[in-house]
Each structure stands twice: as C-alpha cells, then as structure tokens.
C-alpha cells in the first residue's frame, strides 16, 4: 500500500505539504510499512489537498480536501483497519471532471512522482526517444509530426512540422532548440502544471525535436515566478543525465544533446520569439523585425526553433502512437487535444485537457460544473491580454483555432477565465489594457503610447467620466495600434477592448451616458444601500472603517453616501442580505 499526495504549486498552496507531513508522522508512530510519495498536479485544483491511496493491487481510493486534522481518521480507518473512510472520499460528480476529459499530455500528471525518473520510464517513458534516435531519420520524424497535424500550443497555432523543417533546412552546424516556458499570460498555468507534474515529457519532446532539426543544445526559458517548476526540471535533467538520456552519444548513437535552464526575469513581451532570443542573449527583451525568422537566424544568429511546453509534451505521445492516431482527434484543421486553465467564477476550476472542437458549453458546464453560486454566465475570456471576451450567446462555439479566431478571440496558450453577471466588461478591458501598457517594450510608438491613451479613456469611462465619441475613439486607436505595431503584443493588445465593444457595447454606453455600471463593480458608479431586510443588528456600523453607517439598535440603519469609501465591508459582514449595490 502507498499514500500519494498531490504536490503541484496549487496543492502546496492549500497545505498539501502539511498534510503529507502529518501522514508521515502518524504512519511512523503506528509503525506501518507504508510509503508516502508525491505526485504533480492532479488537475482538480478545487479539491486540493488530494490524497491518493493505492492498495497492493494498485486499486485507487482518492480522498479530497484532506487537511492535517483529517489525517487521523483516514489513517485509522483506511491504513490500519483497511476500510474506506466515509468522509473526504471523492464524490462521483467530482471524479467525472477527470473522466470527461481526454488526457494525453496530462497522461502522467497526478499519477507519477515527477522527481523519480523510474516511474516515468515504467510507463513507457523515453521509449519514443530511443525509437527516434535508433531507427528514424530527421525527415521521418518531421513527417510523423506533419501527419499528426500538431500546431504550436503557445498561442498562434503555427504548424510545428513547418518550423522544424525550416530550422532543419537552414544552413549551419550550430543549431538550438528552445522551449518557451515563460508563461506570461495572466490566468494561465498549463505549462507550470506540465513541468511540475511530468517534466520528462517536456525533456523527451525537446530531445526528439532537437534530433529532428540537428541541434545539440536545448534551452528552457522558464519564468522565475515558478520556483517549483525550475526545481523539478533540474531534478529531472540530473536523473536523465545519469541514465544517459541527456549528454553525449544518446542511446549509443552519434547524437549529443543537453539542455540547460535559463530563468526569465519577468517580461510578457518575451513570449514573442525574437524578444525571447534577445533575453536569452542577456539583452532587454525587445522584438525585432521578421524575417529573418529564428529558424534561419536566431540565438546568436544560429538557426533556432522555439516551441511551447505543451507542444513539446505532445511529441513523445505522437511518436509512440503515430501521427494518424493524433490526427484522428480534434477537428479538421485543429488536431489533438488542448489544455485549458479553467479559472475565474467557475465551480470546478483547474487544469483540464479536452479534444479540440469541444464546445465552450461542454467545458464550462459539463467539466467545470457551471458558475460559482449558480450565478448567470456572462462571458469567458480566452487568450489573455491578446485574446477576447466571448459572450454567453456564443457558448455553443466549438473550441478550435478557426472557430475561436472567427469570433474575435484566440485559443491562445489556454487561459480560460469565466465571468458572471458581477464582472464589468469595461473594467475587464481596462484591466487588460493596464497590463499590456505596462508590458509594452516601448519600441513601437503605437503600442507604447496608443495603449496608454486607450487605458486613459477606459479609466475615465469606469469612473463615470466617459464622453460621447469615446467608443469610436477607442475603435480608431485599436485599429491603428494593430497596424502600427511590429510584434504580436501590440498587434493583439486592442483585442480585449474590441471584443468587449463588439459584444457588450451596451455596457460601455451605460457607463458613458447613464453613469451606471450594470455589473455593479465600478466603484464610482454605484452606492451601497441598506434595505428593509435590516434588523438593526449594528454589525455593519461597528465594522465600517469610516463610521459612515448610523442607526439605533433594532432599527434600520443608514449609510452616509458622502462619507462612504465603498470598501464593501458592510456588505461582507451583513448576515441578512440587507446591503445591496444600487
């Protein structure tokens, strides 16, 4: 029997380490011969900390939301007496969250110990690499990827084989295989979870890709904000080197390949290939004009191929199962599966993997369990600052590159932030513009100054100081910024504004002409009002930080609107739902 505790960043944040320590302590105290191990992200973040108990026949019992104080009963019942514990067992509905998915990239996540290469090898790991290095030519590898139809998972969806082929065909003996793990999209954590849960899948993908283009060095450009991911990669690389999977003469062939990690320093623009290369060279991460493309002149002017973590993680599976098997999943032009980070106002947030072409509705309701507090679904934001907000009316849209692109958003790297009726769409646009303005590298005038001007307009509108013509001005600026920017950051920066204007124009108009915020989220455009539900319990008056609430005990209270700072404390503490936003 063994006890496995999910320890990705999310699990650890909910206290998984403390739970694990408690299990170890009690198992030791009771002298039980049971191993306590770790695994990466299970994907169902809303159930963390998650404890998996495998019996000797490898039958799994999953306990969820297990905190240190819950450990004793599980140890006594399950580990000592051998009977399943009544509480904390995962319910069928929550278990379905995983069974409704198609887990290909995530096949090992939440199953294996990411810090033990043997567990990866036991499940067929490094077989694909061996097959490629000992039996295939570079062209054959690229052909398999071509047949599979794999497209870049970082956002743009460019055919992977095409990039590999270009880098392979470029003249030069020194070539580089770079992994973009600088997951800068706010609201996305797919790459982090893959690395934390199954780092060898990434390494294997890079080795195979490196072989295909003729590179002998790989570089992983990873966010510095992901210390655990970097640690697990380092452990994985050391173990791979010990076994001869990285280094010289891999699998007894002539092929040498090693990988190093370069920690990024925090710049969203480094998601752009040429900016990422500048950053690898120790420069400011500013993009340059293409062509020449990195495939011919990249890292220190050498042919360089850059792919995203998820793209690489698909590769070993494709090699092992064939391009046709991968191509049979998904839609006509978008093959395979896609990972999404489901977050925001959703009941069952977490990391999911589904076949391309599944509708938004299936993802949000069947897998995500619907909207928190059963509120009304308003929109889903896809693609982060480069993407757009998709309204409820388009919930039946299949999620693939073509269909999502058609309605003004992008699949992006896979962030999916769900919004309900309390989210203001003008504020969302303001939020993203604030982000892109800060992250603009400053090279192109339209991006540097244009995003600032757009932000100023949006700030005015959310303060109730919008003017007639603001919407048209935003649209005009948006088009000019798209045209006048050199890289993807500027070209897509206006998307959150354009999609919210397209689908939620009435909200902009409400802010500008009626000085109201439909979602009651913009502070300057609503008031807190006490209704007749008030029992005069005085809690709100006591908690108000500015003494803006008055009233006698057992009588209805009143808020002094002049004094109120709209901190929301009264609304938070009222037990009678007597405080509303109007």
């Amino acid at each position: 029997m063994k006890v496995i505790i999910g320890q990705g960043s999310c699990g650890i944040a909910t206290g998984a380490k403390k739970t694990a320590a408690e299990f170890e302590k009690q198992i030791k105290a009771k002298n039980l011969n049971i191993e306590v191990g770790i695994t990466g992200c299970v994907g169902t973040c809303f159930l963390e900390p998650i404890v998996d108990i495998y019996d000797d026949e490898n039958h799994l019992t999953r306990y969820v939301k297990v905190h240190p104080e819950d450990v004793t009963e599980i140890v006594d019942n399950h580990l000592v007496a051998g009977i399943e514990n009544d509480t904390h067992c995962i319910c069928q509905e929550d278990a379905n969250v995983i069974t409704k998915q198609k887990r290909l990239v995530l096949r090992n996540c939440g199953l294996i110990d990411p810090e033990d290469i043997q567990e990866y090898v036991d499940l067929g790991g490094y077989k694909a690499t061996e097959q490629v290095l000992t039996t295939m030519t570079q062209d054959e590898v690229i052909e398999v990827i071509k047949v599979s139809g794999l497209r870049g998972r970082g956002g743009a969806g460019f055919p992977t084989w095409f990039k590999w082929n270009a880098a392979k065909s470029s003249p030069g003996t020194e070539k580089y295989m770079v992994c973009n793990a600088d997951e800068g999209d706010p609201g996305a954590f797919m790459d982090r979870s893959i690395i934390e849960g199954d780092p060898h899948a990434l390494l294997e993908g890079m080795i195979i890709a490196g072989f295909a283009i003729g590179a002998s060095e790989g570089i992983i450009y990873c966010r510095a904000e992901y210390p655990l991911a970097i640690h697990r990669l380092e452990v994985a690389m050391d173990q791979a080197r010990e076994r001869g999977y990285l280094g010289k003469n891999l699998f007894g062939t002539e092929f040498d390949f090693d990988i190093r990690i370069k920690a990024g320093a925090g710049a969203f623009v480094c998601g752009e290939e040429t900016a990422l290369i500048a950053s690898l060279e120790g420069e400011r991460g500013m993009p340059r004009l293409k062509p020449p493309f990195p495939a011919s002149k990249g890292y220190y002017q050498n042919p360089t191929n850059i792919n995203n973590v998820e793209t690489f993680a698909n590769v070993p599976w494709i090699i092992a199962n064939g391009g046709e098997a991968f191509g049979s999943m998904g839609t006509e032009k978008s093959k395979g599966t896609k990972l999404f980070a489901l977050a925001g106002k959703i009941k069952k947030g977490g990391l999911i993997e589904v076949p391309m072409g599944m509708t938004l509705k299936e993802i949000i309701y069947d897998i995500g369990g619907g909207i928190k507090n059963d509120r009304e679904f308003k929109a889903v934001q896809m693609g982060g600052p480069s993407g757009g907000c998709i309204p409820a009316s388009l919930i039946d849209t299949p999620v693939d590159y073509e269909n999502i692109g058609k309605i003004g958003a992008i699949v992006g790297s896979g962030g999916m932030v769900v919004m309900d009726e309390t989210t203001c769409m003008v504020d969302m646009a303001r939020y993203f513009l604030d982000f892109t303005r800060k992250e603009s590298c400053g090279k192109c005038n339209y991006c540097r100054i244009g995003t600032k001007r757009m932000l100023e307009i949006l700030e005015r509108i959310t303060k109730g100081e919008g003017k007639e013509g603001d919407i048209e001005l935003l649209e005009e600026l948006a088009e000019k910024i798209k045209d006048g920017s050199m890289c993807g950051l500027g070209q897509t920066a206006p998307n959150p504004v354009l999609t919210t204007i397209k689908y939620f124009r009435n909200e902009y108009e409400d802010h500008i002409y009626n000085h109201t915020c439909t979602a009651k989220s913009c502070k300057d455009l609503f008031q807190f009002i006490i209704t007749d539900n008030c029992t005069g319990c005085t809690v709100c008056a006591r908690k108000c930080p500015v003494d803006a609430i008055s009233g006698l005990r057992k009588e209805k209270h009143l808020i002094d609107q002049e004094a109120c700072i709209k901190c929301g404390k009264c609304e938070e503490v009222c037990k009678f739902d007597a405080i509303i936003r109007k």
Partner: protein, 158 residues
C-alpha cells in the same frame, strides 16, 4: 563600501560567458536583496558591459529591484482570475493593515508589497505569495479578514 566578496564567484563563473547578464543580475539580487547603483556599476566594471546597458536591463524586467525590500516580500497576484475574484480588495486589505502601497516597505522593514502579473495558482484566486529567506509560502482563497490574519501571524514571528 561593499567589497562584493559574495558576488566574486558569480562573476568568475558567468562574467566571461556572453549572454549571462540577466543570470548575474539575478544572483546579485539574491545575495543583496536588490540592485543598488553601486552594484550595477560594479557588475558593469567586472563584465565590461556599459553601465547604461546594465541599467537598461535592470529597469526593463519586472523581477529586478533598485531598492531594498523588507524581511517578507508580499507578492500580490493581479492575474486575470485573481482580478475577477477581487484581488483589488485583497490589496486594499494589505494597504489598510500595513499602510504600504505597491512597491513600498513598512517602516519597521518587515513587509514589502509588490504586485505581480500572475502566480499561476488561478484556481485558488485570489492568491498571494509571501517570500522570505526561509522560502516561499502561497496563500489562496483569500478574503480581507484572512489576509489580515496571515499578516498578523507573520508579524508575530518577528
């Protein structure tokens, strides 16, 4: 006057490898907590890279700081999921409780507040990470009250 003894092995190892400036700056910041004008000039001198260029890199990337920070660094997540789930309220709670704004340090030198783009724990939004020399701890599903409790608990550690 700092003799930069701790930084010497870093410069020894990376100083001559081109493209290592960011790595050197990261390690220098790990050692000294921030990158002062003197540190920047020292690195420029030792690597032969112009000080203006080093400064350009320092100011370009969000990770680099030019001012000292407190014992505990509060990294307040402002990612999309956190924003939708009320990260602004959590930031307000920190500001009210410690009287510091984004980028500021408390007078007693215990806390520094930094807003960050995304910590990647979106399902637990709103989230903050608190960093200190003993390691990082991430706190999720925050409310104004739990945020204040967490800060009080850390403060009581001294």
């Amino acid at each position: 006057m700092n003799d930069y003894k701790e930084l010497a092995p870093v410069l020894e190892k990376y100083g001559k490898i081109s493209g290592s400036l960011i790595t050197i700056l990261q390690k220098a910041q790990d050692i000294y907590g921030y990158l002062s004008k003197e540190t920047i000039e020292h690195i420029a001198k030792e690597t032969g890279i112009k000080a203006a260029k080093v400064y350009g890199v320092v100011t370009f990337y969000a990770q680099f700081r030019e001012n000292p920070i407190g014992k505990y660094l509060i990294m307040m997540c402002k990612g999309t999921a956190c924003h939708v789930n009320g990260a602004d309220f959590i930031e307000e709670a920190v500001t009210e409780h410690l009287n510091i704004k984004d980028g500021e340090t408390t007078e007693d030198g215990i806390f520094t507040l930094n807003n960050v783009a995304c910590l990647g724990c979106c399902s637990l939004a709103p989230v903050m990470m608190i960093k200190c020399s003993e390691g990082d701890e991430t706190y999720g599903n925050l409310t104004k009250d739990t945020t204040k409790e967490i800060l009080d608990e850390i403060k009581s550690r001294g």
